[in-house]
Structures are given as structure tokens and as C-alpha cells.
């Protein structure tokens, strides 16, 4: 459902993402981990068509983002790490606008918008300008916008940022439910606990290169747990990064 093919992004001499290839099966929640500046957001921005790759491509729902960007975007929902919205639109207008962009008719976009606003606890703020919403509410509204067109692929960049514990819990439930419905989820996060809880497969990126990819058990095995214990993802993550990418996929 998601396939990254030798994706690369360079800025002059700086290689931000280097020859990154991976594949995520339908209905899978894929955790994308790495240090700050490792290349996670750059990879995601190339995937969703916000950044032109220097080489390689991303295929989303069978559509190449470079060759058929509209088709790829039509099946994808995206939540950026800092979701800026239109300050002068109300929550309802914003969702209807996004629905319209994804080809929903006026009435359907309105119905979807109201439904999602209720689902995300924003029903009573529907007529409010987004500039008056709190950061957490804006985050929830942006997430609702990512789902307005019922995407088959969902790309979430640090979705827990700005959410209160209740919001974070609801998001975890939502991710599980969507994955159960067959939505493929690409989740970039710094929260190893979230990755451990939600992700069927995990990839770790370091200095632009994908150093390891696999299930949590694969990662534990490759990190080399010699004493037979089951180390946490945090331990595995640190071991792999400190090993300098020995366990390259």
C-alpha cells in the first residue's frame, strides 16, 4: 500500500534522505523513528508531495506520487507536525473546504464535516474561527481534515504533539480502529511507547539512511539481546543508533 523506492533528497552537499526503500502492507501501522534531524519529516514531505525528491519515488495506494500526484494524494490523508490552518475559517468551513478539495460534493462534505467534528469533540466549536481554538483543538481539527475523504493511506507526522492525555488516548484508539478497517498508517513519532503499543512494523532512520526495519521482535533480535530478556523499544532504539547502523535493513 505504501512503497518508498530509493527515495533521496539532497541539499547541495547535505544528504537529508539517502536511498530509502521500504514497503508497508495494507492495514499495517508502520512506526517511523529516528533522532531529531534524522530525515523523518523530509521523507514524509516527499511522500505526500510537499517536497520534490532528488531521486526515487513514493507509491501510495498504487499511485506514484511523482507520476500521478493527484491520484496518490486522493487516497492519502496527511497530518503535519505543525498543522497550520486558515485562521479566518470556522472549524466547519475548514473541514468542508478540505472535503471539497478532495472532491466531495457540498452536501456530503458538510455531512462528513459535522460527523467528524462530533467524533473529535469539536461539535460545539463548529462555528468558531480556527484562530480562537486551542493548540490541541487545532491538532484534532487537522486530524479530522486528514480523514474527511476516508483515505486508504494515512501519514501522521508527530500526531501526539499538543494533545492532552485524553486526546492522545483517543488518537491511539482511532489509529487501531482505522488499521482494523484496512487503512495503512505511516506514523512518525518520538514516543517510543506509542510506537511500541501501536506499530506492527518499525523503521529507524539515522542521518538520512534507514538503518533497520522490521517487527518489534525483529528489532530486538537484531539489536542482540544476549541475556534472553525482552528489552524495551527504547533500549533497542538506543542500541541500534549507538551501534552506528550495524543492523541495516
Amino acid at each position: 500500500m505504501i512503497r518508498l523506492e530509493r527515495l533521496q533528497k539532497t541539499y547541495g552537499a547535505l544528504v537529508a534522505v539517502d536511498d530509502l526503500s521500504l514497503e508497508v502492507e495494507p492495514g499495517c501501522v508502520f512506526g517511523f523513528l529516528g533522532r531529531n534531524g534524522a530525515g523523518k519529516t523530509t521523507t514524509i514531505r516527499m511522500m505526500v508531495g510537499l517536497l520534490e525528491p532528488t531521486a526515487g519515488t513514493a507509491v501510495l495506494g498504487g499511485h506514484d506520487i511523482r507520476r500521478a500526484p493527484e491520484a496518490a494524494k486522493a487516497v492519502t490523508g496527511y497530518l503535519p507536525d505543525h498543522p497550520f490552518l486558515y485562521d479566518k475559517l470556522t472549524a466547519l468551513e475548514f473541514l468542508r473546504f478540505v472535503g471539497g478539495l478532495y472532491g466531495l460534493g457540498g452536501a456530503e462534505a458538510g455531512r462528513r464535516a459535522r460527523l467528524l467534528l462530533e467524533e473529535f469533540g469539536l461539535g460545539r466549536m463548529a462555528g468558531e474561527l480556527t484562530e480562537t481554538l486551542s493548540q490541541g483543538m487545532r491538532q484534532r481539527l487537522a486530524l479530522a481534515a486528514a480523514l474527511v475523504h476516508r483515505p486508504r493511506v494515512l501519514v501522521l507526522d508527530e500526531p501526539m504533539v499538543g494533545l492532552d492525555p485524553e486526546g492522545a488516548l483517543e488518537l491511539r484508539h482511532l489509529v487501531r480502529r482505522l488499521a482494523g478497517d484496512g487503512v495503512t498508517i505511516f506514523l512518525s513519532t518520538h514516543s517510543l511507547a506509542v510506537a511500541e503499543e501501536l506499530c506492527g512494523r518499525i523503521g529507524i532512520i539515522d542521518r538520512g539512511r534507514l538503518v533497520i526495519v522490521g517487527t518489534l521482535d525483529d528489532l530486538r533480535a537484531r539489536a542482540g539481546s544476549n541475556d534472553g530478556s525482552s528489552p524495551s523499544l527504547e533500549t533497542v532504539f538506543l542500541d541500534i543508533l549507538h551501534a552506528g547502523g550495524d543492523g541495516r535493513a
Binding site: 494524494k73 496527511y78 486558515y86 466547519l92 468551513e93 468542508r96 478540505v98 472535503g99 471539497g100 466549536m125
Partner: protein, 562 residues
């Protein structure tokens, strides 16, 4: 934390901007220098002219100085009030300052300096060459120049302190965002009224010495009502004796000015120190209506865009909604309306009706230039409304770029939203002014046809420059329209319009001659001339439109977003 440390981020940012883009820094400095020089030459010429007008010439220049200070004071008062609202209560950088171990008094001083700089630079741009021109015309000594700097310094502090006090009071009573919107519309109204008032003083009469008596009596009346309690009077009364214009008590008046400035500065510091946290907290709370109801504008637009297929309808509805809810756009609309009113008034006041050969030649020249002037006025409108379109998407650009909407469709959506009102505006403007000039209808038809592709090129250029020089950090359209890219855009449009006017000058002048002398003859020749005008002007415009569209799409593709 010292004041210098507090100002460091701003200074270092400026230094980094200059280092990163030297070409832009040099160009902006050059343009500012040119403007400054032009102001200086204009003031020197006007003041020199008045000064040489017999006995009441010096009286006029002295009164003008007081008038100048009064105008500056009004502008500064409004500007400081609006700026202080942002620098004290809405700016993002206040949050870390509040979290830092920093006294409110010191925070006030840093924000105060920023407010003064941000709101006074334009006055300095005009005020400094004006005072310099006074010194040159009156052959003043170095004491005047030193005095002028000291007076300006004290003079700038007074409206800034009053502005901070007004803003703080407003924020304590009203929601900050509502206050800002109301102030913006108020500023638009005030500036529009000022521009109209200046025009209706009919300054062109000053070129006629016989008409000066009326103007002198106006200034005299103004002088008579100049209150001795006003800082503007103190500033003028300090400088006039230093100019050697007449005897006076400059030290006393400067003392008044400086002590009032100091007193107001300390008062604003004391007030801000006492209530800052309360005012800041109130400013962070938006005016929430707490309702799930759909707004009427939203409902009307939904009906309006129903015939539009696909994403075009929602893009149109979004852009119109955002435009109508943006107070800075309303403020600009008011200003543009005033300028257009003045433009039309100028044409009605042109002395071209006496039927002499010179008057006829002048009318022909005005007719040919009218195409360019009309197009240029429309470009000035486009700088304010089309150029900022891409920037106003701001950091929310990611929403459009990740949607399954081709870039070209986004471009066309912006194009039509900008083009349709502008082309109608330009057509109406040129048709009306041609009517006022009694231009033959054939020429008007040629002009109206020319404007169709020319305005397309102007809008296309606006989108191209807007995308190439985006300012995603501000949501104020007026601010976006004063940036480096906007200047380049204006220059590019000016060049295009000049080229089109030059290409059409010959066929249009032939049409004018034909309409005046051989009416009803040579229909084929008329058609050929019209076609020539359309092909040359239209072809150039379409070429510019196409090139600008390509560049605009490339620039849009480079915009990342988030």
C-alpha cells in the same frame, strides 16, 4: 538581562537577512535612498519657492513646519497604537520574554523601542529630508541640525507612549483581536480621509501666486488655533529660531518637549509594569462565540459556488471568506477607494477645455497616457490584492499542496479571483476617465480591448512575483504589499505598461486624428488601426501573461508549506 541583550535577536536577524541576500539589501537600500533624495529635492524646491515669495513667503514656510509636525503626530499616534498592540500583546516573542526572569519594566523598555522603530521609520523617511531641506533653504548652522535630531527623538517618544497607554487600555477592556481589526479599519478610514482632505486643498493652486492668499489665510487660521499645549507647537517653536527664521525661546520649548516625552515614557512604563500580566492574559483569550451554528456568509457562499464544478468552488468560497474576514483587506479597500476618487477628480479638474490647439494636443497626450495611467492605478490595486494572494495562504499552503488538486488548477483559481474584479475595475476606470476627457468612442474601444489581455498579464505577474517572494510569516496584506517582491512586481508592471502604451501610441494617435478631422471616412483604415493596436498591445500582454504563468507555476511548485 540588559536592554541590548533583549534587542539582540532583532538586530542579529537583520544582520543575517542582509548577509544572506546582499542583492536584496543593496536594492532596497538603493530604492530607499532614491526615495529619500526625491523627498529632499521636492521639499527643497517647494520651500525655496515659498521662501522667495516676498513678505509672506517665510510666514508660509514656518506655518508649513507646524503643519508637517501636526501631520506626523497624527500618523504616529495611530501607527504606534496599532503597532503597540502587536509588539506588546500579540507578538509570539513576548511569551519567552515573559517566561524569562525579566522585570515588566525592562520588557516594556524593549517593546517600547521596537514599537517606536516599527511605527516611526516611515515618518523619518519623509521627516528627515524635510528638516534637512529647511536647513538648506534657510542656510541654517549646525545647531539647527543637532536640534532637529534632538527634537525628532523626543517627538517620536510622545505618540509612542500615548499609543502604548491607549492600546493597554483597549486590551484591558476589549478582546485583542477585535481591537486590532477595529483599529485597522479605523486606520484605513483615517488615512483615506487624510488623502482626500489633502487633495481637496487643491495644492496645484499654490503654483499660482494669486491663489496663495487663500492658502496663506488657511495656514494663518491653522496657526492661530495651534495650541501652546501641543507637542507639535513645541517642536516647531524649537526649530524656527534655530533656523534663524525668527527670534524665540528654543530652549524653553525643547524643555517642554523633552520633559513631556520623559514623563509619558515613565508613565507608560509604570502602567505597563502594573497591568501587563492582566492585559497580556486578556489578549490571549479570543472572543469565542461558543456556537455550532453555521455563519451566514458560509451559507450564502455555498449557494453562490454551487454552479462551479470540483475544487474550484471550494477554493473560491475559501478565498472570498478569508478576504471578507480580514480587517487589513478592508482597510486597504478604503484607501484604494479614496485614491480612485482622487484619480477621477483629477481628470475632471484638468484644464483642457478651452479649444486651443495646445489644449487639443494636451488632450491627445492625456488620452494616450490615460491607458497607461489607468493600467498603472489598477496595478497599484493588484499589488495590494493579487500580489499577497500566495503569501496569505501562509503556512497553511500544505493543505492545498497535499490535496489532489493540480497546481495549475490552484493557479487558475487564484487568477480568476484576481482577474475578474481587476479587469472590470480597469475597464470602468478607463471608460470613465476617457468620458471625462471626451475621447472618441473608437479610441475607448481600443483601450478597453487592450486592457483585457493587459490585466491578465498584470494578474499573472502578481501571482508569479507573489510566489517567488512569499512572506508566509505575516497575515497582514498591507505589510506583504510593501516588501521587496512587491517593489519588483510594480517595476515589472510599469515596464510592461510603458511598452504597451508605446506600441499603441501611434495607432491611437492616428485614430484620434481621424476621429477629429475625417469622421465617417476610411472604415477599413480604422479597422486596420484598431487591429494594429490590438495585435501589438495584446500580443505583448499575452506574451507577458504566458511567461509569468510559467514562472508562477514553477515558483508555486517550490513552495513547501507546513
Amino acid at each position: 538581562m540588559t536592554l541590548a541583550a533583549l534587542l539582540q535577536p532583532r538586530l542579529l536577524s537583520l544582520r543575517n537577512v542582509v548577509r544572506r541576500d546582499r542583492l536584496r539589501a543593496v536594492t532596497v537600500t538603493g530604492l530607499v535612498g532614491l526615495f529619500w533624495l526625491a523627498c529632499f529635492l521636492l521639499f527643497t524646491r517647494v520651500l525655496g519657492y515659498f521662501h522667495g515669495l516676498g513678505t509672506f513667503g517665510p510666514f508660509l514656510t514656518q506655518r508649513l513646519l507646524a503643519l508637517l509636525f501636526l501631520t506626523f503626530f497624527g500618523v504616529l499616534l495611530v501607527s504606534n497604537t496599532v503597532t503597540a498592540l502587536t509588539t506588546y500583546y500579540l507578538a509570539a516573542e513576548v511569551t519567552p520574554l515573559l517566561a524569562a526572569p525579566l522585570s515588566y519594566r525592562r520588557l516594556h523598555h524593549a517593546r517600547f523601542l521596537e514599537t517606536v522603530v516599527a511605527s516611526s521609520w516611515m515618518v523619518l523617511l519623509v521627516g528627515l529630508p524635510a528638516l534637512l531641506a529647511y536647513g538648506v533653504v534657510y542656510r541654517a548652522g549646525p545647531l539647527f541640525y543637532a536640534g532637529a535630531l534632538a527634537v525628532l527623538l523626543a517627538f517620536l517618544v510622545i505618540p509612542a507612549a500615548v499609543g502604548v497607554l491607549i492600546t493597554t487600555g483597549l486590551v484591558l477592556v476589549f478582546p485583542a483581536r477585535g481591537t486590532r481589526d477595529a483599529l485597522m479599519v479605523g486606520v484605513g478610514l483615517a488615512v483615506a480621509a487624510l488623502v482626500v482632505a489633502i487633495r481637496f486643498l487643491r495644492p496645484e493652486r499654490l503654483a499660482d501666486p494669486s491663489a496663495l492668499v487663500g492658502f496663506a489665510s488657511f495656514l494663518g487660521a491653522f496657526g492661530a488655533t495651534g495650541s501652546p499645549y501641543l507637542p507639535t507647537t513645541w517642536a516647531a517653536e524649537t526649530l524656527l529660531p534655530l533656523l534663524g527664521a525668527r527670534p524665540g525661546e528654543p530652549l524653553f520649548y525643547f524643555g517642554m518637549l523633552a520633559s513631556t516625552a520623559a514623563m509619558l515614557f515613565l508613565t507608560s512604563a509604570a502602567v505597563v509594569e502594573r497591568v501587563f500580566l492582566i492585559a497580556w492574559s486578556r489578549a490571549q483569550t479570543g472572543h469565542v462565540r461558543a456556537g455550532a451554528a453555521e455563519r451566514p456568509l458560509s451559507r450564502w457562499l455555498a449557494v453562490l459556488v454551487r454552479p462551479l464544478q470540483g475544487p474550484s468552488g471550494c477554493l473560491f468560497a475559501k478565498d472570498v471568506t478569508v478576504f471578507l474576514r480580514d480587517a487589513s483587506q478592508w482597510s486597504q479597500l478604503l484607501l484604494v477607494s479614496a485614491l480612485v476618487g482622487i484619480y477621477l477628480y483629477n481628470f475632471s479638474a484638468l484644464p483642457l477645455g478651452d479649444g486651443t490647439p495646445l489644449a487639443l494636443a494636451m488632450r491627445d497626450l492625456a488620452t494616450i497616457l490615460n491607458l497607461g495611467l489607468g493600467a498603472f492605478v489598477t496595478t497599484a490595486v493588484a499589488v495590494r490584492f493579487v500580489f499577497p494572494m500566495v503569501s496569505l495562504e501562509g503556512h497553511a499552503w500544505w493543505i492545498l499542496r497535499t490535496a489532489p488538486v493540480p497546481l495549475a488548477q490552484l493557479w487558475w483559481s487564484k487568477f480568476w479571483i484576481g482577474y475578474l474584479p481587476l479587469v472590470v475595475f480597469a475597464e470602468l476606470l478607463v471608460a470613465t476617465t476617457n468620458g471625462l476627457l471626451h475621447v472618441p468612442s473608437l479610441v475607448t474601444v481600443a483601450f478597453l480591448l487592450t486592457l483585457v489581455p493587459l490585466m491578465a498579464a498584470v494578474v499573472s505577474l502578481g501571482l508569479a512575483f507573489g510566489a517567488a517572494y512569499p512572506r508566509l510569516d505575516t497575515q497582514n496584506a498591507a505589510q506583504i504589499a510593501t516588501g521587496f517582491g512587491a517593489i519588483l512586481y510594480m517595476l515589472a508592471c510599469l515596464a510592461l505598461i510603458a511598452l504597451v502604451v508605446a506600441l499603441e501610441a501611434w495607432p491611437v494617435s492616428r485614430l484620434l486624428c481621424q476621429a477629429r478631422s475625417i469622421a465617417g471616412v476610411a472604415a477599413t483604415r480604422t479597422a486596420a488601426l484598431l487591429a494594429l493596436a490590438a495585435v501589438t498591445g495584446g500580443g505583448t500582454s499575452l506574451g507577458a501573461f504566458w511567461v509569468a504563468k510559467r514562472s508562477g507555476l514553477r515558483a508555486l511548485a517550490r513552495l513547501g508549506g507546513t
